[in-house]
């Protein structure tokens, strides 16, 4: 009897598996705490509980997450809001499933002391990421005629140490801790969020086509991811264990201290109000302000429609 029951169970499981079409999820960078909620959702079985068969595939230096969703390699990606809006405007309509980061984590690390505003850096040589994320700084440069010499780079740390650049753009959850771990005490650190440029950043995206075809899957993925992030918020050390596991599997040169700092900074940026519970919702006002700035400085031809961008459900 037991034997028949086991065969029946296996048959039901295989039938269920056949229905659970695999979803490929790609974060926008190599494994790190920035994506802890998704790793936790997978490791804790939240995706499986939702009936989703999720595979996490990280991008490579030649194939970023936006390329991967564009060519269909990935179904769901994470992206910064600006990149998602620009992609939506340019060639591929994206739908925001979940807005994780509510605030700007962009900072400017300067060798010069007492830098209080961007105007203090006029004419300086400033490092910026080769892969982007620099639209806001460029807008400020253009708006204030700062004549900044932007130096595209992959790794700002050694250029900064060598004295090849005067300042560099950085993320509060990433490069800022790397500088600290290298014993560097910056002359000044400017937080963009404190100077009127506090825009949402990381979010969860799918192509509009995928969204229309799989609205329930998208909803389930977003809910499971949200559950993953909530768990991470309450179980930081356990979450770090999971992150470090992914880090080691991908041979990412980092350490637990670095990832702990990053996780704390990311979770703080998730909060709508400091100390509050994240809403995971894309703020329409911030979205509209960003829309206006991107149009003004020509990053997008026309405003992205909030309702469509958010799947028409919010």
């Amino acid at each position: 009897m037991k034997k028949y029951l086991m065969i029946l169970c296996m048959a039901v499981a295989s039938l269920f598996h056949a229905h659970a079409q695999q979803i490929t999820f790609t974060p926008q960078w190599t494994p790190q705490s920035q994506f802890a909620g998704y790793y936790a959702a997978l490791e804790n079985g939240y995706y499986a509980e939702a009936g989703l068969d999720v595979a996490i595939v990280h991008p490579t230096s030649s194939n970023n997450s936006m390329d991967m969703i564009n060519d269909g390699t990935s179904d769901i990606i994470t992206s910064e809001l600006i990149q998602a809006m620009m992609t939506t405007d340019a060639d591929m309509k994206l739908v925001n499933l979940l807005q994780t980061t509510q605030h700007s984590t962009l900072v400017l690390i300067s060798r010069t002391k007492n830098v209080r505003d961007f105007a203090d850096l006029a004419g300086c040589r400033i490092g910026t990421w080769k892969v982007g994320f620099s639209e806001i700084p460029h807008m400020i440069d253009e708006e204030q005629h700062l004549d900044i010499e932007w130096v595209k780079l992959i790794n700002s740390l050694n250029l900064y140490i060598a004295g090849a650049i005067d300042a560099t753009l950085a993320k509060s959850y990433n490069e800022l801790i790397l500088f600290s771990m290298s014993g560097i005490t910056p002359g000044s650190v400017l937080y963009f969020s404190e100077h009127g440029y506090d825009f949402p950043e990381d979010g969860l995206y799918v192509s509009e086509a995928f969204y229309k075809k799989n609205p329930e899957k998208c909803r389930l993925f977003a809910e499971a991811s949200k559950k993953g992030w909530d768990w991470v918020r309450d179980n930081r050390e356990d979450a770090l264990d999971i992150v470090m596991k992914y880090v080691k599997e991908s041979n990412v040169p980092t350490n637990r201290y670095n990832q702990k700092w990053m996780l704390d900074a990311i979770l703080e940026a998730h909060e709508d109000v400091k100390g509050g519970t994240p809403s995971y919702r894309l703020d329409e006002d911030a979205f509209n302000r960003l829309n206006e700035a991107l149009v003004k400085y020509g990053y997008i031809a026309r405003p992205v429609v909030y309702e469509r961008f958010t799947g028409g459900t919010r």
Binding site: T60, S61, S62, R125, K130, V151, K152, L153, I154, N155, L157, N158, L159, I161, A162, G163, A164, I165, S180, M181, S182, G183, P253, T254, N255, Y257, N258
Partner: protein, 641 residues
């Protein structure tokens, strides 16, 4: 236990031994502490020198390799501008670099984007050594390996100067952890057109730094300018951790100093206190690249020799102290033993054994002095005792003689009372108490032809001289009085006899009277004595008026004046010496005339004997234990009805 049952701690030798051992232990401990501390400082200095010497040697070797690489690049770079027309020749240049320097594991001439229109954006001829050691070449750049954004390309380009990259894991070219020396190349217009590079595998660096064996249990590490570990026994830390991240949560000054020194190209050493124990970290920078090489050594190993030395010293110290205790105790015992013998001798002397044998002392030290002192003491005691015996005998003899003299003196005075039992017309009582064995007071009386002759006197001074004068006076009174009828004649005769040949100038006050028992007439003569008191039958007390005259014995031929009075029946005549009214108590207060009069008034009705005894009792009561300073004499005569 000691001699005489004395405990170790209560014996002089025991206490001295403990004192010596304690002082020795303190001196030894202090000496050892200073010595150990100096030794530890010396060891630390030597270890520091040794560690920095090892670091210096290693750094020289690293610098030599780095310089060789720099020279190889310099020696090759000049060729590039001459062969720019032939892009493929660049492969020959990079191969040549590898051929000329065995440390170089890869070399490239990386051109600016689109420098050669035919080669496109990426053109970077690159030569490397394959696993078999053969030199191979390939074009390095492509879309997935955009070398233009690599540190080794971008930094020298921005700095316009050669640059040693921070160690990195190259997964686009060399496929290993390496560092790259890059030199920017400029055309005749000063425009950069390429970066020429030489890669240095860090395997040799790991072997070199890891191979330093400065101390038995030390290990070595190396960090780059960005504080990342390049060499470390724990390979997981290499390029993953920094000296800041690996010490997260630790916060102490030595750590901060070490971190600050290491990332700022400074040499130094710190003592770190971690959970695993204390460690010395010696570090020194590679000047060329500002990497820091460090030797980490457990403090315990550095001080192992000092620790052994300390254990040996403690062991030797304990042995030495025990030996010192034994030797000191027995040495002191030997020295102190005669003292105990002297103690025994002292006890024998105390028991009268003055000739007790003294311990033999051969030395000439303090014990010899003590021996001589004891010997002198014995001799002195014998002599003193002899003298004391003699003195005591003399004293006893004198006392005996004095007792005899007292008996003789008292025997001269009438002391049988009632003095005249066969007569009812007179009652007389007298008493004398000398201040010493013999005294100078006197009294005497006798009746002849119904006349009472009486005298009371007081010789100047006390003791034997006074007693002799008293004896003479008494004898003269008896012999002279029977030949005269008048008191002044008797007194004058007495004075002449006493003053004749009185070279010692002794004198005697006296009151002499002749009382006619039938008539009550009293003839009297006073020679400087207290006026007697008359106690009337009605109880009144009054002094007899007396001429003062001079005491007896002072001036031969002095004309004494006689006086007379009449005593009624029932009255009493009270005679006394100044030992009564001038008797003193402890506070030197005298008995006084008033008190004497008052006493007589109270006892006016009493019999002479009772009045005499009461007087002595009251005087004794007044003295209240004070020494009697003068002879006391009282005589009381009552004319009966």
């Amino acid at each position: 236990m000691m001699k005489n049952g004395r405990k170790f701690k209560n014996s002089l030798s025991g206490r001295l031994t403990v004192g010596v051992v304690i002082v020795s232990a303190i001196i030894f401990t202090l000496t050892c502490t200073v010595f150990i501390r100096m030794a530890a400082n010396k060891v630390r200095e030597e270890a520091t020198k040794h560690a920095h010497s090892e670091l210096s040697n290693t750094i020289h070797q690293i610098d030599a390799v780095l310089n060789a690489v720099e020279i190889a690049v310099e020696n090759t770079a000049w060729l590039v501008p001459y062969r720019l027309a032939s892009p493929d020749f660049m492969y020959s240049i990079t191969e040549r670099m590898l051929q000329n320097n065995e440390f170089i594991c890869g070399a490239a001439v990386a051109f600016e984007p689109h420098y050669y229109a035919s080669e496109g954006r990426y053109f970077s001829p690159y030569s490397y050594r394959d696993p078999n050691g053969e030199i191979k070449s390939k074009q390095l750049g492509n879309e997935t390996y955009d070398y233009h954004y690599m540190d080794w390309y971008q930094i020298p380009k921005l700095l316009d100067e050669p640059y040693w990259s921070e160690p990195y894991y190259d997964d686009g070219g060399g496929e290993m952890m390496m560092t790259t020396y890059s030199k920017p190349l400029y055309d005749e217009y000063g425009n950069l057109y390429a970066i020429i590079t030489a890669d240095l595998s860090l395997e040799w660096l790991t072997e070199l730094v890891g191979g330093i064996q400065a101390f038995e249990r030390s290990y070595n590490l190396m960090v780059s300018r960005n504080a990342s570990f390049i060499v470390h026994p724990d390979h997981n830390l290499i390029l993953n951790e920094t000296i800041y991240s690996s010490t997260y949560g630790e916060d102490d000054e030595s750590l901060k100093k070490m971190q600050d020194d290491m990332v700022n190209c400074r040499a130094g050493q710190v003592l770190r206190d971690k959970e695993g124990g204390k460690f010395f970290v010696f570090y020194s920078p590679v000047e060329t690249t500002c990497w820091s090489v460090a030797i980490v050594c457990p403090r315990s190993e550095l001080y192992l020799g000092v620790k052994k030395l300390r254990s040996l010293l403690i062991f030797l110290g304990v042995i030495m102290l025990l030996l010192m205790m034994y030797l000191s105790y027995h040495g002191i015992r030997k020295v102190v033993a005669p003292v105990e013998d002297f103690s025994d001798v002292a006890k024998k002397i105390a028991h009268g054994e003055f000739d007790a044998e003294l311990p033999k002392i051969q030395s000439q030290d303090e014990l010899k002095d003590l021996h001589d002192s004891f010997e002198y003491l014995q001799q002195s005691l014998v002599r003193y005792i002899d003298e004391l015996k003699s003195t005591t005998a003399n004293k006893e003899r004198i006392e005996s003689e004095l007792r005899i003299a007292q008996a003789i003196q008292m025997g001269m005075l009438p002391k049988s009372f009632p003095a005249f039992p066969d007569r009812d017309d007179i009652a007389l009582a007298a008493k004398i108490v000398p201040a010493k064995e013999v005294g100078g007071d006197l009294y005497d009386f006798f009746i002849e032809n119904d006349k009472l002759y009486f005298i009371v006197g007081d010789v100047s001074g006390k003791g034997i001289p006074a007693s002799l004068v008293m004896a003479v006076t008494c004898r003269l009174f008896r012999s002279i009085a029977s030949f005269h009828d008048k008191p002044e004649e008797i007194i004058t005769s007495l004075n002449d006899s006493l003053s004749d040949g009185n070279e010692s100038n002794m004198f005697c006050t006296a009151f002499l009277g002749i009382l006619d028992l039938k008539t009550g007439r009293l003839d009297y003569c006073n020679a400087g004595h207290n006026a007697p008191l008359v106690i009337g039958s009605n109880g009144n007390v009054s002094a007899i008026p007396v001429e003062p005259n001079l005491p007896l014995g002072l001036f031969n031929g002095f004309p004494y004046q006689g006086q007379e009075t009449k005593l009624e029946k029932g009255t009493m005549l009270y005679l006394f010496t100044d030992g009564v009214n001038e008797a003193e108590d402890m506070e030197m207060n005298q008995f006084g005339d008033d008190r004497l009069v008052s006493l007589l008034e109270k006892n006016a009705g009493a019999e002479p004997k009772e009045i005499v005894e009461t007087t002595f009792a009251q005087v004794q009561l007044h003295a209240d234990g004070a020494n009697q300073s003068d002879d006391i004499t009282v005589m009381c005569i009552k004319i009966c009805q």
